[in-house]
Amino acid sequence: MKATFPHMGNLYITARALLGGLGLEVVVPPPCTKRTLSLGTQHSPEFACLPLKLNLGNYIEAAERGAEVIVMAGGVGPCRFGYYAQVQREILKDLGYDMEMVVLEPPDAHFSELVDKIKYLCQTDWRRAIQGVRMAWWKTRAVDEVEKRVEWLRPREKVLGTADRIYNRARAAIDAAATRREVELARQQALAELDAVERDPVREAKVVRIALVGEIYTLLEPFMNLDIERKLGRMGAEVVRDLYLSEWINDHLFGGFMRLDSPAKKAKKLAQPYLGYFVGGHGRESVGSVVYFARKGFDGLIQLAPFTCMPEIVAESILPRASQDCDLPVMTMFFDEQTGEAGFVTRLEAFVDMIRRRKEADRRSRAGAMDGA
């Protein structure tokens, strides 16, 4: 069985290890491009959220490379993601693609069903399969760790793009690793190389810290968010997200089995005074993140979401109040197939300028107060 899956940032590294470990032949869809977007947009419902459209584009491009089975995650609402598979299946059927869809529903709904599906997919013995799951997990953790360091380094490096070159090499090495030892070596080498990168003291003195929160796909997929992290890095912003891939996998597929400490988890509680209820997706986390990152001394926060994303519209409605209370500047960006690069960059630059000036003024007024005393 030739199996494929949708892209979402570095998810392909996890998925290749996982599906490969189950003994499946893995067709990694080509990275998202304009063609992926155009295929997806052309055949999807007009008002569907952009991740659905990009996923569909991934499936079509994977089908062209011989994929027969699609493996993806599901959900039980209220966010639309839980119904993606059903809609995509019908679209593919009408387009004449004969692909099977195996939807891994979250364990709180039907744990036995999840096990049955993995059994169905599994083409090898259990010991090898479990090893595959573990490999996938180690790789995800390693990539996340490297990514966090890259996000820290980008606004500080002397030669722009150095961190990203190391990052790309590291991702390839981790993706190719066949044993836990190889994963570990690739991780250590990447971290050592990143530590050795020459930094620019002038840039470093001006670094602002921005938290990125919002809908998970938009947060993790650079094609969807127009590569916002790299752009912010070049503008001198250190970026931290409230959620990384391993945390999402843990929450969504392992039912929170691993004990990970993510800002998103804390943010859920901190949202209480503003949004006392689950609203699907990460809407509540987006609100609570304002409190969390304000306490951590961040300079700004950007909420990212697909246009028409319901949980994030709820969050967007509440963010201004939380932003005011916590004295943390917040900006919301919605993305769809029409989002243009130029307007996007202008908004980012304006935001970074604003928080940088604000930070500077804050620093001066504090220095002034001290002089006065």
Binding site: V87, D94, I313
Partner: protein
């Protein structure tokens, strides 16, 4: 005690129930006026741009009640039946209003979450009732009465009456500006009009779509006239249980209409950017294309929708019905 109930969103589904409950507990129910331009404009200003039209309109109705009520009834409707939700925006609504609007009366924002079972509704009733009286028996009696009224309401709808007149008959709250008798009774064609009640029955939002169709000789049947059991059975044909209550009504009623020989076409009314509808509407259109080639019209409403454009599309649709009848 005056309790303000916005004439928006689930008003068209549950108002007689709420009205009977609060009235039986001695409160006076204040309803906001039928949607008008001022209400819409205020709502559009109060809500974020990305919110859908019905949510913006709801904001407007809440503002219209600002000085007319001691308590505002804006429940958090998480789930009105087991294993289903309405829409994330309904789940966040009281918080969205609190964050976005100033100087509002106190809220009755009780969580209504029947996801785990409908028995929970009694707790909801007790929680709301306690705001008005400490007498538990009185609350339970009021709830029982309210449920009887609600059953009556559902029966009236299934007998073919629209929510407006049915609400007027049961509660005395006048319907508004609709010209009586228009858009009802037999027409030349019968069309299944699917969509959410807060779009279909709010004459301002829908730009009097039902009346407009009536004047063109189209008699409409809406999902509220279909018994719940039929909707459930039809919607169960989907490969995965649909977890949106209103989406389920949309699918169930459309699949039902597709089987009825007396239905000449289907109109799906939706709000621009409606999340659940973006997927459910697509499925519905696919199924109707596959099973039976009925004329299908998809209308999207937002605060920019113009009457002329709507009229043109509706006329084109009836031309199509006439052309097909002539074949």
């Amino acid at each position: 005690m005056r309790i303000g109930i916005p004439r928006a969103l689930f008003y068209y589904y549950y108002f007689p129930l709420w009205h009977a409950f609060f009235t039986a507990l001695g409160a006076k129910v204040e309803v906001s006026p039928p949607t008008n331009k001022a209400i819409l404009d205020q709502g559009v200003r109060g809500a974020v741009d990305e919110a859908c039209l019905p949510i913006k309109v709801y904001y407007g109705h809440v503002l219209a009640l600002r000085n007319k009520a001691d308590l505002l009834f804006v429940p958090r409707l998480v789930s009105v039946e087991p294993k289903a939700y309405i829409c994330p925006k309904f789940m966040g609504l009281p918080d969205m209003l609190r964050a976005g609007l100033r100087d509002l009366p106190r809220f009755i924002d009780t969580n209504v979450n029947l996801r785990q079972g409908t028995e929970k509704v009694l707790e909801v009733a007790l929680e709301m009732g306690r705001l008005l009286t400490r007498n538990k028996r009185q609350i339970l009696a009021a709830w029982e009465k309210a449920q009887a009224v609600y059953q009556h309401y559902v029966a009236l709808l299934e007998s073919g009456l629209r929510p407006g007149p049915a609400i007027e008959r049961l509660t005395g709250v006048p319907e508004g500006r609709r010209r009586r008798g228009e858009g009802e009774g037999p027409g030349r064609w019968k069309v299944g009009l699917v969509g959410h009640g807060y779009n279909l029955y709010d004459e301002y939002i829908s730009m009097d779509l039902i009346g407009r169709l009536g004047r063109l000789g189209v008699e409409v049947v809406t999902p509220d006239q279909i018994p719940g059991a039929v909707i459930e059975t039809e919607a169960a044909r989907l490969p995965k249980r649909l977890f949106w209550t209103l989406g389920k009504r949309l699918v169930g009623s459309t699949l039902h209409f597709l089987q009825r020989p007396d239905i000449d076409g289907i109109i799906h009314v939706s709000s621009f950017g409606c999340g659940p509808d973006s997927l459910v509407g697509d499925l519905v259109e696919r199924f109707s294309q596959r099973t039976r080639k009925l004329p299908f019209l998809y209308l999207t409403l937002d605060e920019q929708t113009g009457e002329a454009g709507l009229q043109t599309r509706v006329e084109a649709f009836t031309d199509m019905l006439a052309w097909r009848a002539a074949q």
